[in-house]
């Protein structure tokens, strides 16, 4: 494929058809088309509406706890400087964490859910459905549904229900109905299929609260815009705290909503190196990973064209990741476009590397990161020792890891 010409700005997409270059679009059944057009109309009305913005900002501040802190991870920085010295490099950049784990519900997912629930309310919808992988989006959806008095159904792969049981219980406490999906490997992809089937059946009153920056237009755009608060804050905070932009920013990419939220406000700061981390699982040689941009090909699934893990016949593969939130064989379309345009590098991190970073962060920072975020930290652990001491890296700590302690205990052969 030819590389597209470098645009004047990387922040103008999508176009009116919902395309980011060849990626994105509206590949959905006709039954859903009028709903998606209706959503787009409402989205266009509210996105520059000061009342909508004011309501969202108020909730973000007083309900979700924004702005989230930009925290200088001194313990991790010191540790990586020791590693650097031991290698004779004498460097080690300063590492900052964008603390999305401190948000209400424990991850960045609340940013998007608050925005979309206000949209659902404006559209007069009566019922919320959502898909979830790790359960973070399911919890955030159930939370805003409880707060605004909507009934909520969350589709969750049966495998994920088993490995994320604390979040399942949380959703139930919040009044949501969790429907386990047994098709396929019982992970996020299958949950999304089932949510789409629900939506196509209950078109009259149902709002589909998609959790990541993927799906048919306008979802990738609106989820990105609701999550961009991460990058907008981080950019202002680093300018205030360090007086300059970071050298590198890093975030984990499953569907890619925390990553696009951090990246988007930095896309036109050409001096900032941007790195997205894919789930390398047990390695890219086999099929046990979710590195769709490193090992997949463009295809069409769940309403958009994007990089997908698939076989030569165009059948979608299931993939694997230790982290339920990254266990998805595709990625949001804007990431695919950023990959092909060369603005963002996407690299894989293996299960084991993420697990190590999870433990390291817990020990040296006293912060238990989500396994998703641990992938991003693991890459920082790799590159920071070779950087100079006056350089700055921001890692998106997209969520807290309490939900993952069972998985980690299992991996380490411990019983809780």
């Amino acid at each position: 494929m030819n590389k597209p010409a470098i645009p004047n700005s990387f922040r103008t997409g999508p176009d009116e058809q919902g395309m980011f270059g060849i990626f994105g679009g509206r590949f959905v059944a006709e039954t859903l088309m009028p709903l998606i057009l209706d959503l787009e109309r409402h989205w266009n009305e509210v996105k520059d509406d000061p009342d909508f913005k004011a309501e969202l900002t108020d909730l973000s501040t007083h309900y979700a706890g924004r702005p989230s802190k930009l925290y200088f991870a001194e313990g991790l920085t010191r540790h990586l400087r020791e590693v650097s010295s031991a290698k004779g490099l004498g460097g080690g950049a300063k590492v900052y964490f964008k603390r999305e784990d401190l948000n209400h519900t424990g991850s960045h997912k609340i940013n998007n859910c608050l925005g979309q629930i206000l949209l659902a309310k404006r559209m007069g919808k009566k019922r919320i459905i959502a898909e979830t992988g790790a359960g973070q989006h399911g919890v955030a959806s159930a939370t805003v549904a409880a707060r605004f008095g909507f009934p909520c159904v969350v589709y969750m792969g049966a495998t994920d229900v088993a490995r994320q049981s604390p979040n399942v219980f949380r959703m139930k406490l919040l009044g949501a109905e969790v429907r386990p999906v047994t098709a396929g490997h019982g992970t996020l992809k299958d949950a999304m299929n089932e949510a789409l089937r629900d939506w196509v059946t209950n078109v009259e009153d149902t709002y589909y609260l998609i959790g990541t920056a993927a799906g048919p237009h306008p979802y990738p755009e609106l989820v990105r815009d609701f999550q961009s608060v991460i990058g907008i804050e981080a950019r202002a905070q680093i300018l205030e705290q360090e007086g300059r932009l970071p050298d590198t920013i890093i975030a984990a990419v499953g569907g890619g909503s925390n990553a696009i939220g951090l990246f988007h406000p930095f896309l036109d700061d050409r001096s900032v190196k941007i790195i997205g981390i894919e789930a390398g699982g047990r390695g890219l040689d086999g099929i046990e990973h979710c590195a769709s941009m490193n090992a997949g090909a463009p295809g069409v699934l769940h309403g958009n064209r994007t990089y997908l893990l698939q076989n030569a016949d165009g059948q979608i593969m299931d993939g694997h990741s230790i982290s339920a939130g990254l266990d998805y064989p595709g990625v949001g379309p804007e990431h695919s476009w950023l990959r092909d345009s060369g603005r963002v590098d996407y690299v894989p991190i293996l299960d084991d590397e993420a697990l190590e970073a999870f433990q390291l962060t817990t020990r040296v920072e006293g912060i238990i990161p989500a396994l998703e975020s641990a992938h991003a930290i693991a890459h920082a652990v790799k590159i920071v020792p070779a950087m100079d001491k006056d350089q700055i890296v921001i890692v998106n700590l997209s969520g807290r890891g309490d939900k993952d302690v069972h998985t980690v205990a299992n991996m380490l052969g411990m019983e809780i």
């Binding site: 039954t31 059946t201 295809g299 165009g314």
Partner: protein
Amino acid sequence: MTTRIDRRMAKLKAEGRPALVTYFMSGDPDYDIALSIMKALPKAGADIIEMGMPFSDPMADGPAIQAAGLRALKGGQTLVKTLKMASEFRAADDETPIVLMGYYNPIYIHGVDRFLTDALASGIDGLIVVDLPPEMDEELCIPALKAGINFIRLATPTTDDKRLPKVLQNTSGFVYYVSMTGITGSALADTGKVAAAVRRIKGHTDLPVCVGFGVKTAEQARIIGASADGVVVGTAIVNAVANVLGPKGEKTADPAEAVATLVSGLSQGVRAARLAAAE
């Protein structure tokens, strides 16, 4: 340029009866059995064959067709084999129209131009691609029409009068009216509403309007066929196959015969449709 679909629809119109459009899943449970089912369809009274192309993530399908697709994929079915099956069928039957129905990704991965060339060579007459609404016509619809293959669009209860012209614009062969909002295999909608919807669509187009989603019995086929130009049956046929498969997917009776029995009954239903309407 007329296609086998146009000719078949014109012939049935002259006979004064609706078409029986039968869906089966190619490759379910394996290639040979599926081919025997396909060959049995016209003999049992099917007028048009919809050939399901299995896909790993069939988002608009209910459990029955999902399971059939997975059986087919497990049995080694691919897009290439589906086209081969069509050409084997075509070698012995040059009349019965074949419509491929499925999702876009396997076609996209095969390559659109190559797919259209191969489909024409295999005797394919039309395409129904669930996840390609008119907004995405440049992808496949327009190239298919140029190649002489009908592109059959789904119209649904959510397709209002304002949107219908857009949906119908590049549709050819026939219009497939989805009787309900939902996935395949659900219960049949209120037949009175379906008849009204068919009249509404006919107000916008001269194309034949076939109705599907939820039709399972000869009696339902008769009632729907009274107002529609064709009746589509899918899940009931796929279930007839599943019912003669054992727990490990082995056949416990002849699937082609099971399908033929069902389709013969449905065929009597559509043949009685206009008599009933005339009463």
